[in-house]
Amino acid sequence: MNPCQHFKKHIGKYCEGDLDPLCLKKLEEHLRVCSRCRTLKDNIEQMRICLKQLPDVKVSEGFNLLLRERIRREAIGKSPGTYSTGGRLLIPAMGIALLVLIIGIGVSDQNSSLTSGSLGYRTVAGESEGDFLPFQGKIQYIIEELPSASAVRLERRNDSREPSNSDSMVGSHPPVRVRAIPVSF
């Protein structure tokens, strides 16, 4: 390789003092005899000084204010996104809750059927008190509209107060009267 080419290749390292001693010695020997490379080296060193001395541009005064405003807008714009992320979780959660509620109602209805069959009449409201207080109205409403054994017994008890032919109803399923009780949750 031409010594000038070699010098050009390593001038960066030379200017930064990053050359191994052997290479450094070779380049310095070349610099002593080659004025072109000497000028090149001087120019590059001077240029680096100039680049370092380039004055900084001043940032305009309104920069911070504008940035804060943009970030604020971004945050506001993002809030529906955050909400929708929550919404994405909310929908399955609501689905699961609904499923649990349906299963719970089914189990509750089965239990009430069984208990009413073996132990006699128990009010659903009484059963749900304490444990399912917030869902009391809902459970009561749903169970009352199902033709379960407890409902039949309840119906029969109500009918027995009336002077109609209640005895003819024994042994058969009377029509269940659905009473709309307001849902309490």
């Binding site: 120019n43 590059i44 240029m47 380039l54 541009v57 911070n64």
Partner: protein
């Protein structure tokens, strides 16, 4: 906000316009805000933010290039949208420091992007080769070689100034 001024200066060397540089830096901070959850402690925060700013500056330059092609073809006599460097001024006219500074800035902007970015990061921002390598996601050897070639090219362009 301690990165504000260094970033504006960094981008300014690419774009040559303070207003555009501020816009890019605003966008950089906004991206940082939006993607703060993506920041990992593997890299230094400065490396991350410089990478974003550099990429946005690159995008802006590409956009400008496209716009320039369009607007030069449509430009009338009154239009003066871009400050195209004046190559015709003789070195004798370059007298004061301000002029010299403008010339240097203009010449930096004439460098191919891959050389410009390394020269800015190394010789103006004074970052280490390792940091530059991380910011630009290129090997250190490539950074060194580009810095060297960039300096040689810039020196060639600025020779008339440096010889004085």
């Amino acid at each position: 906000m301690r990165y504000k001024a260094p970033l504006v200066n960094f981008v300014f060397h690419f774009l040559g316009s303070r207003i555009d540089a501020e816009d890019v830096v605003q966008e950089t901070f906004l991206r940082v805000f939006k993607n703060k959850h993506l920041y990992r402690n593997i890299a230094k925060f400065s490396t991350w933010i410089y990478t974003i700013a550099g990429n946005l500056a690159k995008t802006e330059l590409r956009r400008r290039k496209r716009r320039r092609v369009l607007s030069l073809s449509k430009m009338g006599f009154e239009d003066k949208e871009y400050d195209i460097p004046d190559f015709l001024s003789s070195p004798d006219q370059v007298v004061d420091g301000e002029m010299k500074e403008t010339k240097i800035r203009n010449e930096i902007q004439q460098l191919p992007f891959k050389f410009r970015e390394v020269v800015i990061l190394r010789d103006i921002k004074d970052l280490s080769y390792e940091e530059i390598s991380r910011i630009l996601k290129i090997p250190i050897g490539t950074v060194k070689s580009r810095v060297n070639r960039g300096r040689l090219r810039l020196q060639k362009r600025l020779r008339y100034l440096l010889d004085q």
